[in-house]
């Protein structure tokens, strides 16, 4: 290498070295500059993405694993503002294929543009069938790449983004709607178990940072989904009860029908129905179907005067105190004066000498008012409260009512008639309340309370606590809920006596509630309804109900029926009792309960 060229090489090397040093100097300068913290923050920001993971809402199953509430894929339709070619084409396609209002789409796009948005939502909760229509809008063009969220490959619609997500869906539509409740688009549960167990079902959304650098990829945390619930409801029994009650409404002309079927030993609700039913996939109809006078679930939220069905409580109290026996004789003169009022029987007639069994069998108001007098107010209301009236039963459903019970010494209650709030008066407990309360007028209960009170007759005097959730599945494990018992209002001996009396009274009466082959026990209840405008009882408007259970020697079910204002007859024995029999007739098949005779033969062998 000639010496005269050496300086050139040295010069180039020096220049390169200088550039390198300058780069290094600049790097160190930036590291130490005031903006260094900002640069670091920006690099952190772009190195990862904040992603919110919403766990899928837990499913709801019936007791046999049939899905009652699940999740379906629906779509959010959004628009990328920068890719819009023709807003009119987008509005036209959405109005034709999805049913979104044409003008509303155009207006939204304009608003997004004015706000300088990059992306905006045009519609949500769109069913897959409609998205399929949109995707097939222009089939001659090559298909979109796999995993693309573009709704269509049509260049005019390329700005539309169809992003799938899950939404609540109810495969059984209106079945058990009063028990399930529903979930609105804000993901909140309303009524029933959906609201009662909202926190458990919804799970907890979690925000995580996902690194954009593939070299720093991490395992996504396993965010547990919402817990799933297994209900005590039996889908087949529920469908049957709803079917029978719907038929009963048609045949009797009742305004509403309510039914409960419960396992008397565990408190598990096998079926619970209340009209009207709501198609849970179209829950927007709620506002048309329900109001203050039509609660979502009458079985737990509506109170009514039970009428004669309540006589079982009065009679149980008197027997439990040893004041009388089923054979005690009462001379019914057809009228009984107490507390300044006259009590008469349902037919206004005198029934002469009657045993206590006869009093229940013929449902004599005069006799029961006399029993109430024997009990006295203190004892009577002690038993009423011991049976749980005046308190919620604790059933795990949203918005349970406690009933209305006026007790001696209670502060006055304000009673208003009609919609005129000026037409109110203060009501105190008086002796006449004791007389009317003994046969279920002047107090209000929920159907659920009546069922729980009767469960004491089956469980040696102990009441069960009702529940509709049988188990919870969380993190892949199932947690079953054991049966729980409430108070013990009466002795086992009284419970057996009452069962015998209520079974005999049905048979001696040749009640329409009887089902051939099965020995049942139960009681009818016919209660006049007070006119809301005048406060006076209307003899032609009644609530008819029936509560019964069977088979008497080994009870498997309690069935409660309530018909509001039946038109064909005002009497429970002619309206509610046959409905009870219809339910039991089909229930014994669904529950595989052989007739008493066959069951006893098997037991003997």
């Amino acid at each position: 290498m000639p010496r005269e060229h050496t300086w050139r090489y040295l010069g180039m090397a020096a220049a390169f070295a200088l550039v390198g040093l300058l780069i290094l100097w600049r790097a160190f300068y930036i590291q130490g500059s005031a903006e260094a913290a900002d640069f670091l923050l920006q690099s952190e920001y772009y190195s990862r993405l904040l992603k919110t993971i919403y766990p899928p809402r837990g499913e709801i199953y019936d007791r046999n694993g049939n899905l009652l509430a699940g999740n379906r894929t629906v779509y959010e339709i959004g628009v990328e503002l920068s890719s819009i070619q023709d807003p009119g084409a987008i509005a036209f396609a959405l109005s034709n294929m999805v049913g979104t209002d044409y003008n509303s789409v155009l207006q939204k796009i304009n608003t997004f543009n004015q706000n300088g948005s990059v992306y905006g939502i045009l519609d949500d909760y769109v069913l897959p069938e409609k998205i399929d229509l949109l995707r097939a809008y222009n089939v001659n063009l090559p298909p979109e790449e796999e995993g693309s969220y573009h709704c269509s490959n049509d260049p005019a619609l390329i700005a539309l983004i169809c992003r799938p997500h899950l939404a609540r869906s109810y495969p059984e539509r209106d079945l058990a709607s009063n028990v399930l409740g529903f979930v609105t688009q804000d993901s909140n549960g309303n009524f029933g178990v959906e609201q009662k167990y909202q926190d458990l079902l919804a799970g907890i959304p979690e925000e995580i940072w996902v690194p954009t650098d593939p070299n720093r990829v991490q395992d996504l945390p396993d965010i547990p989904g919402g817990a799933s619930l297994i209900l005590t409801i039996d889908r087949e029994i529920q469908a049957m009860v709803e079917d029978v009650l719907d038929q009963a409404m048609e045949t009797t002309g009742a305004e509403s029908a309510t039914g409960i079927v419960m396992d008397p030993h565990t408190g598990e609700i096998l079926a619970m129905s209340s009209t009207p039913h709501l198609d849970l996939n179209d829950y927007q109809q709620y506002v048309k179907l329900y109001d203050d006078n039509n609660p979502y679930n009458r079985a737990t939220s509506e109170i009514y005067e039970p009428g004669s069905i309540f006589k079982v409580v009065t009679m149980a109290g008197a027997i439990d105190l040893g004041l009388l026996t089923p054979e005690t004789v009462f001379n019914d003169t057809g009228i009984f004066y107490y507390g300044g009022i006259a009590i008469r029987n349902w037919n206004g007639q005198a029934w002469g000498e009657q045993t206590m069994l006869g009093c229940l069998q013929h449902s004599l108001n005069v006799c029961l008012a006399s029993v109430g007098e024997k009990l006295g107010a203190d004892n009577f209301y002690h038993y009423v409260q011991a049976f749980g009236f005046g308190y919620p039963t604790g059933v795990d459903l949203f918005n349970e009512a406690a009933g209305q019970l006026r007790l001696p010494g209670d502060p006055p209650q304000l009673a208003c008639t009609g919609e005129d709030q000026d037409n109110c008066r203060e009501i105190y407990w008086t002796d006449s309340d004791l007389a009317t309360n003994t046969f279920g007028q002047g107090l209000s209960v929920t159907p659920m309370q009546m069922v729980i009170a009767v469960s004491a007759f089956i469980n040696d005097g102990r009441m069960v606590i009702p529940h509709v959730v049988k188990g919870v599945i969380q993190n892949g494990m199932q947690y079953n809920i054991p049966p729980q018992f409430g108070g013990t209002p009466i002795s086992a001996e009284t419970a057996h006596t009452m069962t015998q009396m209520l079974s005999d009274s049905l048979e001696f009466e040749s009640s329409l509630a009887l089902v051939p082959g099965y020995r049942l026990a139960g009681k009818t209840g016919t209660a006049q309804i007070p006119d809301p405008n005048t406060g006076v009882y209307d003899p032609n408007q009644t609530n008819t109900s029936f509560v019964g259970w069977g088979p008497v020697d080994d009870p498997k079910f309690i069935v409660f029926v309530w018909l509001e204002r039946p038109e064909t007859s005002i009497w429970a024995s002619e309206t509610a009792a046959p409905v009870f029999a219809d339910i039991v007739d089909r229930l014994v098949v669904l529950m595989n309960i052989p007739p008493d005779q066959q069951r006893q033969q098997v037991a003997e062998h």
């Binding site: 990829v217 395992d219 494990m477 051939p516 082959g517």
Partner: protein, 155 residues
């Protein structure tokens, strides 16, 4: 004397071209080693990035599949709903049975229809959850070497 010693050194001195060759060889070796290291590094990094992207894609696929499973379960439940099943059974000529038409037979030790079957293992019998992403996807080369040496050191 001095001249002779210079001649002696000159005679035994390594030829300049040989020293240049040695220098070139040394530099070339260094460059090759550096190139090898860079190549291995690039290869590993590229594979790691590809695998990372694959993992991200699989995570996305898993989320989509979980969503799809939920959707299909619900669609299946629609098909098997009471209303649909009653219609199908009715179309097939079946009708609800009345209690009078049923003949019950006593079967020894038969416990009856099992109601309320468990849908998941009962609490108390749980198994440990398996990791969803193996260590091979998250370990760096150095982690792997460290683990390897640790394993070898154990023997």
């Amino acid at each position: 004397m001095l001249k002779r010693s210079k001649e002696f050194i000159q005679a035994y001195k390594e030829a300049p071209w040989r020293r240049q060759m040695q220098m070139i060889g040394l530099v070339a070796t260094g460059v090759i080693v550096l190139a090898l290291i860079a190549g291995v590094y690039l290869n590993i990094t590229a594979r790691s990035a590809t695998t990372g992207r694959l993992v991200q894609q699989l995570q996305s696929d898993r989320a989509e599949m979980e969503q799809s499973i939920e959707d299909l379960q619900t669609q299946l439940a629609f098909i098997l709903s009471v209303e649909q099943m009653q219609k199908r059974s009715s179309d097939l000529g079946f009708a609800p049975v009345s209690p009078a038409a049923i003949m019950y037979l006593a079967v020894a030790e038969y416990q009856g229809r099992a109601l309320g079957a468990d849908l998941a293992p009962r609490a108390g019998s749980e198994f440990g959850a398996a990791p969803t992403l193996p260590a091979a996807y998250t370990d760096s080369l150095f982690d792997w070497l460290a683990a390897l040496f640790a394993d070898l050191g154990g023997y």
